[in-house]
């Protein structure tokens, strides 16, 4: 099959995809890199010349930088913890024999298909609203004062919303991994005298470790850039301004392109560090 003729045909057929993606990646990235070294304020005089590393230094030194980093880390970490722990438990439960497994599966997966703006708005208004939200009714029912979720417990609220969206993803992938576990391995460990908890610790969890790693990496990449959920709930106030949102505000709201671009480069570097780990796992799998 690998004859000369087919090889040159193959190169030709690959070209459009490669050229498009190369352009898509390089052109904007080079522009961002360029802007990050300029004093570029479109509403206040436009391009005011060379800035050196000023933007990079100012971005890091600004009072909103470190809070945005910690906000980002709390959201990413919180969502990861929740989705992994509940994802593993849910995957193990769904793997058990039961009636109506297919329907339960569908119920669990459903939130993944809800567009981010819808889920954010539904949670914000119909659950977390301090007057008319279901949570407020629930709190009152138990005699407690309703919580103003999105201002008093803003980070928790965002974490709840985002976890709800991503739990299906984690569950689905972990369920696939659980189902690929060789039943004979479990039976062998049972013969060797392992109790259920030991079987979980010594057989199931190690078997899942690869899937968990992949879930962590992929979710991290997507969670680092969550946008719509914050955009429609708090608009970045009440301590919910993530790195992504901060850059967005610098670029589009205060129109400080130089500063925003420097932030963008930081975000690109951060994402790349995580992407390298993910690529390694995916790449290894390609060889197999």
């Amino acid at each position: 099959m690998a004859t000369q003729h087919s090889r040159s045909a193959a190169r030709l057929m690959m070209a459009p995809a490669v050229v498009l993606l190369l352009g898509w990646m390089l052109v904007p990235l080079v522009m961002t890199l360029w802007f990050s070294f300029r004093n570029y304020l479109p509403l206040r005089g436009g391009d005011l010349g060379w800035a050196g590393f000023d933007n990079y230094v100012r971005f890091i030194n600004s009072s909103s930088f470190w809070p945005s980093v910690s906000t980002t880390l709390i959201i990413v970490g919180g969502v990861l913890a929740i989705t992994i722990v509940f994802g593993v438990l849910l995957a193990l439960l769904l793997d058990q024999p039961m009636w109506g497994q297919g329907i339960v599966r569908i119920l669990v997966i459903a939130p993944f298909f809800v567009m981010p703006t819808v889920s954010a708005l539904v949670w914000k208004n119909m659950f977390m609203d301090p007057v008319n939200g279901l949570f407020a009714h629930l709190w009152k029912f138990f005699g407690a004062a309703p919580v103003e979720w999105l201002s008093q417990a803003s980070l928790t609220s965002i974490i709840i919303i985002v976890s709800w969206q991503w739990l299906p993803f984690a569950t689905l992938i972990l369920l696939t991994a659980v189902q690929s576990l060789d039943g004979e391995q479990l039976e062998a460990s049972e013969m060797d005298g392992a109790k259920p908890l030991q079987r979980f610790g010594f057989i199931i969890l190690p078997h899942l470790s690869r899937a968990i790693t992949i879930v962590v990496l992929i979710q991290t990449i997507f969670l680092l850039s969550i946008f719509a959920e914050i955009f429609v709930t708090t608009g970045g106030s009440f301590g919910t301004r993530t790195l992504t949102y901060l850059i967005f505000q610098r670029v589009l709201e205060s129109q400080n392109i130089g500063l925003g671009s420097a932030g963008g480069i930081y975000a690109v570097i951060l994402a790349n560090i995580i992407a390298i780990f993910l690529m390694r796992i995916v790449g290894k799998n390609l060889d197999a």
């Binding site: 099959m1 690998a2 004859t3 000369q4």
Partner: protein, 334 residues
């Protein structure tokens, strides 16, 4: 007609030379088997003949016409793959019809040939099934049916039986042999199993690392292996190969004795040793004998009713006229 001639054919994958320059002629109507350990280049050689790989250099004729750069679809050869390679979305009938459809044959002729092939291969009841609904042996038959209907000048088989269980393999072996006798078409058959090679071939080509070690009829290879490799590869159980002093006695670097050419005697004999494992097959018994004073374990094949056990002393007498002698390069000494 189906005479295939390879002249100075080579194949490189990158910098790795898989097939060094090689010449081979396969005569019309001959059943030729390429045999050798895995990675010896036998499948690559078959794929070069099929045209599925480009030759790095050299040329190939089919019936005297140069076919070196003819694409596989135009060579007039049919191939049966190890995985059968049936088209999963087509019924058995459509699978078998496919090469005729590609050739633009008229429908009536197609139907006639399908009926004939199906009858010959016991597939008549399965013509409307999909390959996924068939057993391994049936899929194998469909693959053969697909090859037969186009009446190729030669059939190429790439390890066709290796995915079948042992009992089916023996049955299919016979069917393919009978098909060859009936059609009298050239067949080239690749296998790593020397039993298949011995039982089916008119001509065996033994390959190692892309090099032809020997070409000959099964009995030629059995009786006069050209070197140590062929001697060890052909025959089951394997030939005993003995080096050192014992070989020097026969003025050779190594000698070979087939297990069936060693007699078990009451006393005396050339070698005396202890029975290790005794494998009783009923018809035959294999003794693996240690402590004969030789470095090698000696395997002996005897009739089934010699009842020696593990640890018993055994006296062995090889038939001196059937001992093969090899020089330091491993080549046969006549």
């Amino acid at each position: 007609m189906g005479q295939i001639t390879l002249k100075q054919v080579t194949k490189k994958f990158g910098d790795v030379e898989v097939i060094p320059p090689l010449d081979l002629t396969i005569h019309d109507g001959e059943f030729t088997v390429f045999v050798g350990p895995s990675g010896c280049g036998k499948s690559t050689l078959l794929r070069l003949i099929a045209g599925l790989e480009d030759m790095t250099s050299g040329s190939m004729d089919i019936d005297g016409m140069d076919a070196t750069s003819v694409p596989p679809s135009k060579r007039g050869l049919a191939m049966v793959f190890q995985s059968y390679a049936l088209y999963p979305h087509m019924s058995v009938r459509k699978n078998i019809a496919f090469p005729m459809r590609m050739a633009g044959m008229d429908q009536a002729e197609q139907d006639k040939r399908i009926e004939q092939a199906a009858a010959a291969l016991n597939l008549t009841d399965y013509l409307d099934r999909k390959p996924g609904q068939l057993s391994g042996g049936q899929r194998q038959r469909v693959a053969i049916g697909r090859a037969i209907v186009r009446e190729p000048s030669a059939f190429l088989f790439d390890e066709p039986l290796s995915n079948l269980d042992a009992a089916l393999r023996v049955g299919m072996r016979l069917e393919i042999s009978e098909m060859h006798k009936r059609l009298n078409t050239t067949m080239i058959y690749v296998t790593h199993d020397q039993v298949e090679a011995m039982t089916m071939a008119d001509k065996i080509v033994v390959l190692r690392a892309g090099v032809i070690e020997q070409v000959g009829s099964p009995l030629e290879l059995y009786h006069s292996p050209r070197n140590v490799f062929v001697a060890g590869f052909i025959g089951s159980p394997k030939m005993n190969l003995i080096e050192g002093e014992e070989a020097a006695k026969h003025s050779a670097a190594s000698i070979g004795v087939r297990p069936e050419h060693i007699d078990v005697v009451e006393s005396g004999g050339m070698w005396t040793g202890t029975v290790g494992v005794a494998e009783h097959l009923g018809s035959d018994t294999f003794f693996h004998v240690h402590e004969t004073g030789l470095a090698e374990t000696i395997t002996v094949r005897t009739e089934g009713d010699i009842m020696l056990k593990h640890g018993d002393t055994i006296h062995l007498n090889p038939r001196v006229d059937l001992i093969h002698r090899f020089d330091a390069q491993g080549l046969r000494i006549e």
